[in-house]
Amino acid sequence: MTPAPALLPPLPGGARRGMDLWEALRGALSALSANLLRSILTALGIFIGVVAVIATVAVGEGARRQVMAQIQSLGANLLIVWGGSATMGGVRLGAGGRSNLSWDDAQAIAREIPEVQVAAGSIRQTFQVVMGNQNWSTTVLATDPDYFVAHEWVADNGRLFSPEEAAGGRKVVIMGATVAEMLFAEEDPIGREIRIRQTPFEVIGVMARKGQNPMGQDQDDTVFVPYWTARRSVMGASRANARQVGVISVKIHEGEDMAAAEEAIRSLMRQRHRVAANEPDSVSIRNLSDIQATRDASARTLSALLASVAAVSLLVGGIGVMNIMLVSVTERTREIGLRLAIGARRRDVLAQFLLEAVVLALLGGAAGVAAGIALSHLLADVAGWPVLVRADAVLIAVAVSALTGLFFGFWPARRAAHLDPITALRHE
């Protein structure tokens, strides 16, 4: 009946080692799974915060990269000179009216300003372009070969036109990738003939694809013809506007001061357009890096906004963790008393509850990262948004959720550790 009274051999004495982490982790997981629904609901607060952060950062970063790529696609060190309003008989025509820039202004900029690598005037107009029984309405851009240098744009197929072709008025055309697709589909357009306003042009090249510019226009929906050819045979030129251009693309030598070059162009144009000292500038100049700086600034504002949203949701999630840990400490008061009675030190109990809070927050955070990445890809696939999940955003999200657990778990854990074992053991 009575079992053999075999007492166990004494344990080795000496300083005791700490609890092993694996055991502690198993304990934390077991405690959390004992109240599974409650644990999940608590982790949900952190989860939602992290999902929001991961997905919005991915979308924001994707958009930023896209804008950067678009700005890059326009060409580096590029200044765009826009004509101001021409004045006709005392009537100022306003921006976008007839341009006061001329082909010769472009030549002058290239010739007289040392910082300038190339300057290319161009003028654009929309026409119906016809190939056999296909037709397509597109922008015809009349310019010279320097335009492609300024915009760092090369032909993907065939070639660009030579300075001789540009000057000699040859009827050759280079097509943007979109136009080539629309008119020729799978066929090779090189050597074929298209018509612009009844005038036949020989296709000599197809440009590499550039995509949208920052204003959302498809840069590949354009055909390029030599300036003088266009002036003679397509864009009907009167005597008054025979040398007119819409904009001048100016590429500044690498390493030169963009602002100084901009100022030099401005004063050269004032001089050429005979602007009186008290009159405003005759041209406006856009520096694409300005656009980039503006975009960056708005991206930073957006990031700050997202960060504060994330902080608020993590704060709310953290308070949830603290709340549930306090409940858990109260519910398990007797367990804590028992653990203290059988030899747990205060720090063991502290570590136990702290670990539970951290594991809870970390599980929420990790699930949030997974769901955030999934959501980002879903947005990319379904909505077609460019997204980019950055590794550092993921790491920060995980680290912050762990820290949230640590911070908000500390007080409940300390409360547990400082319970009086006798009172705790009697707790009902």
């Binding site: 009946m1 009575t2 166990l8 344990l11 005791r16 030899g343 030190r345 205060r346």
Partner: protein, 241 residues
């Protein structure tokens, strides 16, 4: 050899409202290693306070207490926890097992706090369960065990660290007579193999199995008698007959 327990003028006051309640007043006694002692008295007599002080769960207001020659009053929280872990084993009226853990994991728990490697813990816990006659219930959870079996798991937990003293607070209070007798038989068996036992009870039927009875009243030790203990195993056999 040092006494297992040596107290001099052990006194405990609790603040209560405006005044002070004296839970224990000037208890001086010595208990030799390997004794089986019962502390008796009605509720409020101070026997539980005495147990808590001996168990290093509480500190005396006055007086001194030595456990195996070691002065307890001056020790830090951590050292007290250490003492509990190495020297003592607790058995409670309501068992206090962790409901989520099986019998083996419950018995293992004190060794976790001593930082023993997992394999060693498991082996010792299994041996302790074997010693209390529950070798075939190792992977049962408390809810799957009877009250007597739960108390045996708790006793296994108390002896797994090979303590010098088992502190039992009304260990049969939640059990029927028959199961209570079997627990007493187990205590006597453990006592025979050399471990000291200090058991608090209000029940004279339980106290008769100890070899020494301390009687408390109003916080004072009023009687300290050595007796020849009844045989629990025999009492159990009589009950069955």
């Amino acid at each position: 050899m040092a006494a297992l327990i040596e107290t001099t003028g052990l006194t405990k006051h609790y603040p209560a409202g405006e005044g002070v309640v004296t839970a224990l007043q000037g208890v001086s006694l010595t208990i030799a290693p390997g004794s089986f002692v019962a502390a008796m008295g009605p509720s409020g007599s101070g026997k539980s306070t005495f147990l808590n002080l001996i168990g290093c769960l509480d500190r005396a207001t006055q007086g001194s207490y030595r456990l195996m020659g070691e002065e307890v009053e001056a020790l830090s929280h951590d050292r007290l926890a250490d003492l509990r872990s190495r020297r003592l084993g607790f058995v409670f009226q309501s068992f206090n097992l962790l409901p989520r853990a099986d019998a083996l994991a419950n018995v293992e728990l004190p060794l976790v706090y001593r930082g023993l490697p997992r394999r060693m813990r498991r082996e010792r816990a299994a041996a302790a369960l074997h010693a209390v006659g529950l070798a075939d219930r190792m992977h049962h959870r408390p809810t799957q065990l009877s009250g007597g079996q739960q108390q045996r798991v708790a006793i296994a937990r108390a002896i797994v660290g090979s303590p010098d003293l088992i502190l039992a607070d009304e260990p049969t209070g939640a059990l029927d007579t028959r199961t209570g007798l079997s627990i007493m038989a187990l205590f006597q068996a453990l006592h025979r193999s050399g471990v000291g036992i200090l058991m608090v009870t209000h029940d004279a039927d339980v106290a008769r199995f100890a070899e020494r009875v301390l009687r408390f009243r109003d916080g004072r030790l009023i009687a300290d008698e050595v007796q020849s203990p009844a045989d629990a195993a025999a009492a159990l056999a009589d009950l069955a007959a």
